[in-house]
C-alpha cells in the first residue's frame, strides 16, 4: 500500500486538522472535533447541514462554505458520522430558522440522522431532511428509496445552500434541494478498486481489462462487469443510463458534472466529457453549466461518474450563485 499515512486509525482526525489549517479562511472548527463549520455564514438564515463518511474529498467538508453548506459532520472512512456529530452540526447550523439536513441515502447515515433529528427536536431545533438518491445503477426506477446518493449530492447542496443564502424559509430550502435531487441522475464506472488504509488491501476486485458499470462510491458492485471500453463508448453508456432514467427532453437545459473517482488523470475526464457533451448536445439538450474534475471521489479508485441535473429557472439561479468552498469556488 503506497500511501501517505501515519496510524490509519487517526487518519480522519489528522486530515481534519490539516484541512482546518489549510482552509482557515473558509471553514472553522467547532466544539465537536468531527463537525466543521463555515466561517462566513449569512446571519438569520436557514441552516444547511450535511455529513457523511470520509474518503470522498472534496465531499463532504469541501462543500462547506459561503452559500453552500454551513456545517458538515465527519465520519470514519466510508462510514456515517455519529448521531452526536449530526446533532452538533445541527446546533451549529441553527440560527432559529431551522436546519435543512441534506445527505446521502446510506443505511448508516439514515439511522444516525434520524436519531439526531429526534434529539434536536427535543432541544427545540427543527430539522428537515432531504436524502440524495441520484445513483441510477443502485436500484430500479420504481425503488427510488433504495438508490444511493452519489455526486448528485453536490447539486442538492448547491441548490439548498443557495436557496438558504437567498433567504428562503426552511420549507423552501427543503423544496429546492428536493427538486434538485429529484431532477438529478448519476452513474459511475469503476476501473480499479480502492484500499481502505486500515484494511491495507483492496476489498474488491476489478479485473484488468474489465470495468464495473454502476459502481458505488464505496466500491459497491454495479449492474454489469464488462470488457474495458474506449472513452467514447463509456460516455455513451453513461449518457444512455442517466438520460434514459429521467424524462430529459429535447430543449431541456441541464447542469452536467463529470467527476473522477480519485486516481484517474484529470486529462482523461476531459476526454470523457468531450464525448459526453456531444452525446447530450446530440439529443437536443442544452448544457447550461458543466463541472469536470475530482468533485466526489472514492479514495484512489480509478474511474468516473456522470451526473446530470435538469434545470428550471429556479434551479438555474441557484446553480449559478457564487460560492466559495474548498471543493468548488464559483465567481
Amino acid at each position: 500500500m503506497q500511501r501517505i499515512l501515519n496510524d490509519p486509525d487517526n487518519i480522519v482526525d489528522e486530515m481534519l486538522e490539516g484541512f482546518l489549517k489549510a482552509h482557515g479562511d473558509i471553514v472553522e472548527k467547532t466544539g465537536n472535533k468531527r463537525v466543521v463549520k463555515a466561517k462566513k455564514i449569512k446571519a438569520d438564515k436557514v441552516g444547511v447541514a450535511t455529513g457523511g463518511g470520509s474518503g470522498h474529498k472534496p465531499a463532504f467538508i469541501g462543500y462547506v462554505g459561503e452559500n453552500m453548506c454551513d456545517t458538515a459532520a465527519v465520519g470514519e472512512i466510508c462510514s456515517s458520522p455519529t448521531a452526536a456529530a449530526f446533532l452538533d452540526s445541527f446546533r451549529e447550523a441553527d440560527q432559529g430558522k431551522g436546519v435543512a439536513c441534506l445527505y446521502g441515502n446510506y443505511s448508516g447515515d439514515n439511522m444516525n440522522v434520524k436519531m439526531a433529528v429526534k434529539m434536536a427536536k427535543r432541544e427545540g431545533i427543527t430539522v428537515k431532511t432531504v436524502v440524495a438518491n441520484d445513483d441510477v445503477a443502485s436500484a430500479p426506477k420504481d425503488q427510488p428509496e433504495k438508490r444511493r446518493g452519489v455526486a448528485g449530492e453536490i447539486f442538492m447542496w448547491k441548490a439548498g445552500g443557495a436557496k438558504a443564502a437567498l433567504g428562503g424559509t426552511l420549507d423552501e430550502v427543503i423544496a429546492a434541494a428536493q427538486k434538485a435531487i429529484d431532477q438529478t441522475r448519476s452513474v459511475g464506472i469503476g476501473l480499479t478498486p480502492c484500499t481502505l488504509p486500515a484494511v491495507g488491501h483492496p476489498n474488491f476486485e476489478i479485473k484488468e481489462g474489465t470495468m464495473e458499470v454502476g459502481i458505488g462510491h464505496h466500491g459497491e458492485p454495479g449492474i454489469e462487469v464488462c470488457p474495458l471500453e474506449s472513452a467514447d463508448q463509456m460516455a455513451k453508456r453513461m449518457v444512455d443510463i442517466v438520460i434514459g432514467d429521467v424524462p430529459f427532453e429535447k430543449g431541456d437545459e441541464v447542469a452536467v458534472l463529470v467527476s473522477g473517482l480519485g486516481a484517474t488523470p484529470v486529462m482523461e475526464l476531459y476526454v470523457l466529457y468531450n464525448e459526453i457533451e456531444k452525446l447530450i448536445g446530440g439529443r437536443g439538450i442544452k448544457i447550461h453549466r458543466s463541472y469536470v474534475g475530482n468533485y466526489f471521489t472514492s479514495l484512489e479508485m480509478m474511474g468516473a461518474t456522470l451526473t446530470v441535473m435538469k434545470l428550471d429557472d429556479e434551479l438555474k439561479e441557484l446553480v449559478d450563485l457564487p460560492i466559495e468552498t474548498m471543493g468548488l469556488t464559483q465567481i
Binding site: 470514519e76 462510514s79 455519529t82 452526536a84 456529530a85 443505511s107 484494511v199 458505488g216 459497491e220
Partner: protein
Amino acid sequence: MAMFKNENGKSVLLKMVKGIQENKAYLGEVDGLIGDGDHGMNMNKGFSVFEERFKDKEFSFADGLYELGNILFSEIGGSMGPIYGTIFMDAAEAGEDFDEIGRAELMTMLEAGLSGLQEIVEAKVGDKTLVDTLSPAVDALREERDFKSSLLEMKKAAEDGRDKTKDMMAKFGRSARLGERSRGVLDAGATSCCIILTTMADGIMEYL
C-alpha cells in the same frame, strides 16, 4: 442453579473485545464481498477504544455493555454505532439492576436490545442482517433450561442464524442494492453478531 454475577462483567466484555479484534480482517473480507469492506475495521476500532479506556477499571456486565454501546454510538458512527449501540445500551439498561444473571435475566437483556434495534431498523428475520443472528439467539433463551445448556443453545442458534444468511437475499443496508447477487455469502453484521454472542456466552460460562 448456576448464575453469573453482574459485577464479574469485565472478563466477559474483554473476551468479546478479543473476539472482534481477532476477526477484524475476516469481518472486513466478508463485508468486502457485498458491502464496502469496513465492518471489521469499524468494529475493531470501537471495541479497541473501549478496551483501551476501560482496561484498568472495574465494571459490571451491564455497565460494560453500556459503555461499549455508547462508544460505538457516539464515537464510531457508521451503521454499527446506532445498531450495536442501541442493542448494547438497551440490553444494559434492562440489566443494570440485576445482581445475578441467569438464563431469564440474559434473555430479558438481549430481548430489550433486540426490540430497541427494531425501533430503529425495519429488518426482520430472513432479511440477511444481524437480526438473523440475534433473534434466534434470544429465542433459544426462552425455553427453561439450566443456564449453561441455555448458553450452548444460544451459541448454536446464533451460528445457525448466521449460516442461514448465506443463502438469503439482502433487504437492508449496502448489499440490499445487489438483489439476487447478494446471495451466496454471509452477512457481515450477522457474522460479527455471532462472534459477540459466542464470546459473551463463553465468557459467562467461565463463571458457571
